[in-house]
Subunit: 173 residues, 2 copies
């Protein structure tokens, strides 16, 4: 199916990119996730100081990330102090790590002249970790080599379109 | 070097993630890039209609993406109409594709119940394209298995720190 058909078929609210951006589509949320994912910074005051963010904005962003299952709010208490909370990555939050790495790699290349301030290694074997796209046959793939296609989530719509418009009409099961 | 040292060493403005988010850290910019990267939608009116975005906001975001070298503003003219512009991905813009794919894959998993509306294939060989992290030894890597370390861009600072604090003081070359 051509890109034009796919483009017509997908409803704006259905796109997985748009749906993800509903939850993390702002600078602060992604910086909060960077702090948790890269540096293990999970406490309100530490986040506030490191990010230079107002209490009100930080509270609002943390509440949103908790409400959407990206961070878990966990109580802790230090001796002689009142109970506080920290904000730990849920499995869904940890799965946003490739987004951060993709942002990191672009910034290394285009904003830090290829001199990465932070490099990533695999705890298991020590080898350098990177993102990027590969195909199931093992090729590294660039944007221009990628063909977006109707996926399983759009199959019913594609089937209805074919049934309605195709000369050899089939039942839209 | 432990994560704590790295965390203390890196200045907020130096982080490649933060620097990338300076340019694309908002929902609209990323949706504009989605349209250009996935669907080849590059004309003002098409973008406006598909995204349901106001003219003022779209103009502001496009100007920003052009100013930062992510889109190129290219004139075109259709017969009988005035000259207009379209907004094509620069090589730097195309290199943001892995960010979009990472957002897509997360949304497929967590917001579309694993039923991807759009799947990606490699034009060269037809195999499915995906993102994710791998290490140079070929392992697939999760967030918890990644160790952030001082990269080449932070070496001078790390060297100064060692020189200043280490018992066997070395010259900070």
């Amino acid at each position: 199916m051509a890109t034009d058909d796919l483009k017509a078929l997908i409803r704006p609210g259905q796109c997985s990119i748009g749906r993800t951006l509903d939850f993390v589509g702002d600078r602060w949320s992604l910086l909060i996730l960077r702090e948790a994912s890269f540096y293990g910074v999970t406490r309100f005051e530490h986040l506030r100081t490191r990010l230079g963010i107002s209490k009100a904005v930080l509270t609002e962003r943390l509440d949103g990330l908790v409400a959407h299952g990206i961070l878990d709010r966990v109580p802790y208490q230090q001796p002689g102090e009142r109970a506080r909370h920290e904000y730990r990555l849920t499995p869904a939050g940890a799965d946003l790590f490739p987004v951060l790495v993709a942002l990191l790699e672009w910034g290394d290349k285009y904003r830090n002249e290829g001199l990465a301030p932070v490099s990533l290694s695999h705890k298991g074997c020590g080898a350098a970790v990177s993102g990027g796209l590969t195909c199931a046959s093992g090729h590294h793939v660039q944007q221009s080599e990628v063909q977006p296609e109707v996926g399983p989530g759009l199959m019913p719509e594609a089937e209805r379109l074919r049934a309605a418009g195709g000369p050899g009409q089939r039942s839209a099961a």
